[in-house]
Symmetry: C2
Subunit: 400 residues, 2 copies
Amino acid sequence: MKRRITTFLLLLVAGTATAQEALWGGSGIVSPEVHEDGSVTFRYASATTEKVSITGDFLPAERRQTPHGEVTGPGMAAFKPDSVEGLWSYTTGPLPSELYNYSLYVNGIKTADPSNVYLVRDIATLTNIFIVGGGRGNLYSVQDVPHGTVSKRWYHSPTLGCDRRVTIYTPAGYEQSEERYPVLYLLHGMGGDEEAWCELGRATQILDNLIAQGKAEPMIVVMANGNADQQGAPGQTHEGLYKPHTRLRRTMEGSFERSFPDIIDFIDKNYRTVAKKEGRAIAGLSMGGFHAMHISRYYPDTFDYVGLFSAAIRPDEKRTAGVEIYADIERTLERQRDNGLALYWIACGTDDFLWDANTQYRALLDSMDFPYTFRQSEGGHTWRNWRVYLSEFVPMLFKK
Amino acid sequence: MKRRITTFLLLLVAGTATAQEALWGGSGIVSPEVHEDGSVTFRYASATTEKVSITGDFLPAERRQTPHGEVTGPGMAAFKPDSVEGLWSYTTGPLPSELYNYSLYVNGIKTADPSNVYLVRDIATLTNIFIVGGGRGNLYSVQDVPHGTVSKRWYHSPTLGCDRRVTIYTPAGYEQSEERYPVLYLLHGMGGDEEAWCELGRATQILDNLIAQGKAEPMIVVMANGNADQQGAPGQTHEGLYKPHTRLRRTMEGSFERSFPDIIDFIDKNYRTVAKKEGRAIAGLSMGGFHAMHISRYYPDTFDYVGLFSAAIRPDEKRTAGVEIYADIERTLERQRDNGLALYWIACGTDDFLWDANTQYRALLDSMDFPYTFRQSEGGHTWRNWRVYLSEFVPMLFKK
């Protein structure tokens, strides 16, 4: 027996037992490299390239001409040939701790950084990301703390007549516990889906870290899909691998809002929840803020905490005329005020194209003596702000 | 009140309430477009581009010279200028139903297709994917059937002294049921991690579809991380957003295998499992096949079903000398044989660089009268084969 075994021994070196596919096109370049002082070096290897540039939200915004008119977007910076033949590089100055997005332009053609596998999808656009730690970036990074579970589940919506996909975060310790947990319903914007808050919003890391630091109560976070036309995110349903787009018919016209009790019912039946008003929060960004505003006032005594992040605060009359859930705004807001709320939190950046709409909505609330907290920030309608808003909102919830 | 509401009404068109970031760099191009006959058109828009090519596993393999010698890889094909100014395109002939991978070369620079957000990561390489339906591709597609839940959880491994991330599939109906379910432990290859079987192997879709068709029993699938040096996949741990690589120290040297009872214990404590031999299967690809082979014989009477997919079947003596779990191969295989197994399934492609190792391992089993089933396939060490093997293996498990 010994000999037989020896004869087939060691035909291979263990290190070669890798997927052949992965061997094609790999490169030894490290890019980006985040240095101790917060500066970052990007590298690109090509002997035949004439020009490499980078665009990203760590560069000052620039106004520029496009075929569609003048737009403001992130700035550009040029790589320089490195001392190593065929290597290009660009190094930033020290950057504040943050999560950043970027893309490369190689000979004028936009591309992802081939040395960076970390990409995020915002609707149909993929960009590379990196994190500069030390401050806020630490909150968006996976830390060596107890981790919650992130599940992609399907629930049945009788109202919409289909199964729908939902992302559910349960905090570390949930499975080992017999306690009941409060629930934050966290909603995405137009063109987003049930992936957005974890992928772009770093919700998993923010919750894990705030809970581990004792700054937030352990809570369940339910990230629903707010597009009534979608059963789930692009590529995750039987509609196949289609190109994501924002041309969705049933958004901000009542369908999702009317079906919201289906989600609450599913969560309360399937999780150990504090199934009453003081155990529920609802928040959303942009369209999700619109949803959170309407849902929270339409279903009375359901949510004790409401967060409107850069909320697309007002309905489009063409779509909402005659829709019950958008009617009687005054009466339902009054009822919401009179029922009492633990927190009604409105956040908006001064550069946000929804600033004026939010200002006017606050004027309405003021005129009604509707109590709310306003958080003014810098910047505009960006995930950078929404991560900040989530990080500030979550510690205010469910305080015992 | 009515007037006040009207004054802030309709400042925005709902359709503009989208993330600003996503608006930069979007394009209206559809690529790839899969036609009814299985042919596929790829498109690329650029007025300044001189050459666009595509490489993908639907093109015949080619041998070519590289700086590292002659290698065989997927072929290349050239786009042609389209009748639309500035648009390039390439259309294949009808392709067999399958999931395919590809990348573009634009003026000689490798890039992802900017119109296709569906990318998969194989170690440090990202490639676009598309599916041609009608046959096998349907099994890899999300269908309108009941869907299981996919959770990313963390379990504690006392043996490795850390928390570790694991992907767990529970079949549709699990949460509503009170029944116990059998468990398939499904292991990745060198350089892979707990993401690989769902991302590259389409395990979620294969299981959902086979179960819905009545071809497979409902089962839990546990996709563990087989790299003892990793707590989880790159980017998912406190080691940050580092570049994935295969230079892992503790693989195929006993650490993961020794810690395997930690996973089984976690699963049996946290899920309604059939916690005995007839309720357990273990399978893996390449390094995962090596793990499945050693784990299944070392822990007696634990698994009734074993699947070795393109298994890296033999240990590297330099790493395994003196390691208890790799010793006494004959005796433990004899015990495994004598205990009896429901299925010992070995699959390998004729072009696989591990073909000879698998042939010799089968000769050993033959010499021992160890019963096994051998599935010879075409092709090599590829995810295309591993998806096929999983699709064939799963229906043989846990038959009542």
